[in-house]
């Protein structure tokens, strides 16, 4: 019928007109510009302001970056080269300082022939956290994770190989005792394991290390804590603090959720006390007061003391993160565990904690970012952090006196890259968890 119609009525068009492109103002770049940058007088003003700010920033800083000098022996030489090349009054960065001193920013005063040790430790860190954080890593790698702390400490500080091995043996021994006695009741098993571990670490492990070292001397060169500095120090403190604080944080979080009034109160007091004071005061406790609190004559190195206080600090924050994870679990999970007849620890271990910890990982990563940034404060108790300690040390050298902006840019860039990557990872994780839960 339409055919006849088309033939009888002459003015009906039987072919479509070709599509015309949208008007110039409604398509492509112009449309995008109009919608996103100039959609009204206010937006136009904002855009112009933005362009002006960007332009003045670039104009101000670009020459400084572009005129950078990589090859010089002192700041004076740098400035001479810049004046020579770009005329009097030209500004320029003196990257030569980074070129000469980058290793101090990264490793502090760690012996340069042993740099492979911190680098290897850092690389192994990814193997250790891989199975926890990335799905593509085979799950079997997880057996490496509990071993990593011992390997890392041994690689970083060096010394006899027997120390980490025998300390590890202590944990294995405690576990064996626990699992053997636990057949007669979990509480007695736990107590027996704890007592054996404490006795072993207090009285046995020291002489045993000496004995083994005497028989078979095996080890690598010892590096003193005083040689740690720069990002090596910051990462050691940050990672060490978080790893050591995880068990304490879990216990504190469970304690805060507990029905037992006394345990709940102790947990709350500890958490709120630590969260209520600045980290700097805790670092002063580490450097000035810890010697008062420990038995007379105890004296151990400042990094370990700082690590103890940083761990306490992190534990309080981790506890709050995990408490959030525990609270986010649906009530039904707890009730289901009760319905299955699991006791408290079995319910926590098999049902509650695996889920709560999984939810908490983004929070733990954020806490780690905060901690990592805060490790720069150790400069105030005399350690060489990468932000102030190392640059101050370099500026004390006559050649680099008065160099301010280059260290800021270099250290700031490294902090930014690491933290930005971690925060993006944490966001990605949050998205993945959200998908997993639906």
């Amino acid at each position: 019928m339409s055919d006849t119609h088309a033939q009888t009525v002459a003015f009906v068009r039987d072919t479509m007109l070709p599509q015309k492109p949208a008007p110039v103002g409604q398509s492509g770049v112009i449309q995008w510009l109009r919608e996103n940058l100039f959609s009204g007088w206010f937006n136009t003003v904002l855009t112009l302001l933005g362009i002006y700010v960007t332009y003045s920033f670039v104009m101000h800083f670009y020459p400084w970056f572009a005129h950078g000098v990589w090859d010089a022996n002192s700041l004076k030489e740098c400035r001479a080269i810049i004046t020579d090349r770009y005329g009097a009054g030209a500004t320029g960065a003196c990257w030569a300082m980074i070129h000469e001193r980058w290793h101090q920013f990264l490793f502090g005063f760690y012996p340069s022939e042993l740099y492979w040790r911190p680098v290897l430790t850092f690389a192994l860190l990814f193997v250790a956290i891989g199975p926890l954080m990335f799905q593509f890593v085979p799950k079997k790698v997880i057996w490496f994770t509990p071993l990593y702390p011992f390997i890392a400490v041994w690689l970083l500080w060096g010394g006899t190989v027997w120390a980490p091995l025998l300390v590890l043996a202590g944990f294995v021994l405690a576990w064996v005792v626990f699992s053997y006695v636990a057949k007669y009741g979990s509480i007695s098993g736990f107590s027996a394991g704890a007592i054996v571990a404490i006795l072993y670490f207090l009285f046995v492990v020291g002489p045993l290390i000496d004995l083994f070292q005497g028989m078979i001397p095996l080890g690598i060169e010892h590096v003193d804590s005083a040689k740690f500095g720069g990002f090596l120090l910051a990462i050691t403190l940050g990672v060490g603090g978080i790893v050591l604080s995880l068990p304490a944080g879990i216990i504190l979080a469970l304690g805060r959720q507990s029905d037992m009034l006394l345990i709940k109160s102790f947990s709350i007091i500890f958490i709120e006390f630590i969260r209520g004071v600045p980290l700097i005061t805790l670092l002063f406790v580490a450097s000035l007061l810890l010697n008062y609190f420990l038995p007379p004559g105890t004296n151990f190195d400042i990094i370990l003391r700082v690590m103890i206080l940083v761990t306490m600090f992190a534990a309080a924050y981790i506890a709050e993160v995990i408490r959030g994870g525990l609270a986010a679990l649906p009530r039904g999970q707890y009730e289901a565990a009760d319905a299955l007849g699991l006791d408290y620890w079995k319910a926590q271990r098999l049902i509650v904690l695996p889920q709560a910890l999984k939810i908490s990982i983004p929070g733990i990563v954020s806490t780690f970012i905060g901690m990592f940034k805060d490790t720069t404060l150790v400069v105030f108790v005399g350690l060489f952090d990468p932000l102030k300690g190392i640059p101050d040390f370099i500026r004390a050298d006559f050649n680099w006196k008065g160099i301010y902006w280059e260290p800021f840019v270099f250290v700031g860039a490294i902090f930014f890259i690491l933290n930005f990557a971690m925060s993006r990872y944490s966001m990605h994780l949050e998205n993945r968890l959200q998908r997993d839960n639906h």
């Binding site: 940058l37 362009i51 002063f284 007061l289």
Partner: protein, 421 residues
Amino acid sequence: MTTAPDAPEHTGFRLSQLIYDTRYRSMTIQIVVLFLVMGFVGWLVDNTIQNLNALGKDFNYSFLGQRAGYDIGNALIPYNNDMTHGRALLVGLLNTLWVSFLGCIAATFIGVLVGVLRLSKNWLVARLMTIYVEVFRNIPVLLWILVAIALLTEVAPSPNAYKVNAATGEAKTSMLFESVAFTNRYTAIPSIHFDRSLGSLDTALAPISLNFLAIVLVLLASWFVTKTLNNRAAQVQAKTGVRPTTWWKNLAIWVLPVVILVTALGINPEEPALKGFNFVKGTNVSNAFVALWAGLSLYTAAFIAEIVRAGILAVSKGQSEAAFALGLRPNRTMSLVILPQALRVIIPPLISQYLNLTKNSSLAIAVGYLDLRGTLGGITLNQTGRELEAITLMMLIYLVISLLISGGMNIFNNRVKLKER
């Protein structure tokens, strides 16, 4: 028919019940934990006493009453080096609170602005704000404070660069808005001067400016009057359905009395003026304070921007659409529907950022601003050698500040909490 199993025969209390009977077990565990904790604390105290004895020290706070003997550059209350360590502590505490207070205000202002602009439809501005947020919050605050102090001491000119050259009529450097001068020694800002000042009231702690007191009283009175006015308007609205116009009355009550008062007092800003090598009029703010304040504000503002953005995004679109469907105008929608819901999300993390800023103000150590840590935990500690007393007292004060702030937050939370029925 089922029969209940026989209840176990009561055979008296056995010791093993302490562990295996859930009725007693929690008590047992708590007592054991109590003993362990008390033992641990006792051990710490015992060690401390032994160590103090070995050093020939005692534990008392009498040093707070001794002469301090050091000067504080930015004292908010009258202070000189003949006063006591206790007075120095108070000066330091006020400095901590002052920089935190001003930092919170600036951070909130910048943070809200950045957070809102980051949601802007303007592509360029949104990107710029994202860059600001990411750069500032991924780099330690210490770096920002150090950059600020380096800018002020290394880049800012010396005061006499502001000197007007008699021949050309121009200065090497001109002041910002003709009233703020950044120099490598201090920042000169205008101060407020009253021509017909009421004088000040001397109290033991600090002199209180009567002018200031009068302004506060007038503002309080205005607040009270506007509150009554609004209550009455609400009553009229409840009765008749029509709300009397109040906005211009409110505005008049807030503005007029204060304006009349300050005019009567003869208020006028005193611009900094260069005389010789220094600025004499106005106020010279130390660079340490400016750097600390700027660093803390810019850093915290990045976090606040994220909080504000998340809060605004948290209010679902349906809410504003529903409000429009009810016929509310955009500004009423904002004030009655969106803001109350967004604020409920924004305020708790915002206050914890204030708390962080206050704690981070202890970074004053990096620039040499004498705050609580600088006086009590710094010079006083070094002069008297009383680490134990000084640091515990300092931690206690910080703890009290934190608990007060978080207590305030809890009260607020309970007030705005969704009332679920």
